[in-house]
Symmetry: C2
Subunit: 202 residues, 2 copies
C-alpha cells in the first residue's frame, strides 16, 4: 500500500513544482473535475532532459498516452511510468502551453495568467530555471482530432476526484499548472479555472 503525503494545492490559475525521487509517484487530482492541468517533468540531474510530447508520440505510436505506458524524454528514455488513470483517458499531447502571446491572439489587451509563466514561477520556488517551456502533457485536456486532422477545443470528460498516478523512473522535478484558460471551454463550459491537488506517493 502506497504511503500518501499530505495533499498539496495547485491554486486556480497558478503553478506548483515538486521533486520526485526515483520510485516515488505523484498523484495529480482533478478535484473539481473540469480542470486541465499542464504537466512537465525534468530530470533532476539535467533539466535539459525533459518529458517531450514529440518524442513520446513517436515511441507511443499514438497521440494519447494511457495508463501502463512510459512517458519519455527528448532523449527517448522513460522519465515517468503512467501507472494509473481513473478518468476516461482523454489527455492532450498536441497543444503548446498557453502564454501571454496566446491570450493576445484571443483578444486580451492586458496580461493574462498563463501556463508558461506558471511553469517558470513554480520552478523558481525550487530555485530552478528550466531551459525552456517544453510542450506539456495537458492532463484532461480534450482536443478531438477529426478524420481531416482538424482539432477542436473540447470540454474535459473527467469527473470530480479523477486522478492520474505517474511514477518516477529516475529522480526528477515535476511541475503543474492549473490552466488559467477562461476564454475557450477547455476547462469546462463555465470557463472558470479551478484549483487542483496532488500528493506524493512513496
Amino acid at each position: 500500500m502506497a504511503k500518501e503525503s499530505e495533499i498539496f494545492t495547485v491554486p486556480a490559475r497558478r503553478g506548483r513544482a515538486a521533486r520526485l525521487d526515483k520510485g516515488q509517484a505523484i498523484k495529480v487530482i482533478n478535484t473539481h473535475g473540469q480542470q486541465v492541468v499542464d504537466f512537465w517533468a525534468f530530470r533532476a540531474d539535467d533539466l535539459g532532459e525533459f518529458l517531450s510530447m514529440e518524442h513520446l508520440r513517436a515511441t507511443l505510436e499514438g497521440i494519447f498516452p494511457h495508463a501502463g505506458c512510459d512517458l519519455v524524454t527528448n532523449q527517448r528514455r522513460p522519465i515517468l511510468h503512467f501507472a494509473e488513470d481513473t478518468s476516461p483517458g482523454i489527455h492532450d499531447t498536441l497543444m503548446a502551453a498557453c502564454d501571454d502571446y496566446r491570450y493576445g491572439l484571443l483578444g486580451c489587451t492586458s496580461y493574462h495568467d498563463n501556463c508558461t509563466d506558471n511553469l517558470y514561477a513554480a520552478m523558481a520556488e525550487l530555485d530552478l530555471t528550466p531551459p525552456e517551456c517544453p510542450s506539456p502533457l495537458n492532463l484532461w485536456m480534450n482536443i478531438p482530432v477529426g478524420p481531416d486532422g482538424r482539432t477542436s477545443w473540447g470540454e474535459p470528460v473527467s469527473k470530480a476526484g479523477d486522478y492520474v498516478v505517474l511514477r518516477a523512473v529516475c529522480d526528477c522535478v515535476v511541475a503543474m499548472s492549473a490552466c488559467p484558460q477562461d476564454i475557450l471551454p477547455i476547462n469546462g463550459a463555465l470557463r472558470t479555472p479551478t484549483e487542483a491537488h496532488f500528493q506524493i506517493l512513496t
Copy 2:
C-alpha cells in the same frame, strides 16, 4: 513571375540550410517523390524564435498545415506563409526529428545518420548554432492518425517533382534534412533515402 535561383541539392541522408530575406520564398522539391524532408525555420535576428509545431497546431486548429496558412513561431507569430503545395497535402507535425537515440531503439548498434545531427551540421555551414532542435515540419511524411489516436508510419503520397513553396514573412534561416530513415517505410516502401532539391524564389 517569381525569379528562381539555381537548384540546390539536399543530398540523401544530409541537411542543408539557407537564408531567406523577408519576401523571398523557398521551393522545396520532392525530386524522387518518396522522400521526407524535415524542415525548420528560425528568425534571422533571434534563433530562439523558431517555427514551432505545438504552437502551429493551436493557431491552425489542426494537425495538417496546408497551402494558404501561415506557419507560426514559438511566439505565435507568422514566420513563413505556406504559399503553394502541388502534393496532396499530407505532411506531419507530430513526430520529433529522428536522432541517434531513435535508431538505437530501432536496433542500430552503431551511429546512424539522423535529422537532428543534420540540422546542427547544416546550420554550422552558415556559422550558426540553433538553440535546440525544434520539432520539425516533416514535409511529405505520412503519419495517419486513427480515430483511437493511434498513429502509423505510412509511405508518402507525393509524386516525383511535387513541391511546396514557403514565403518568408521576416528574415529567417531555414534548414532541411533529407531524412535518413531506412528502417521504417516513411521514405517509401524501398526504405531508400534519396536526395531532394530546393530553389530560392525572389
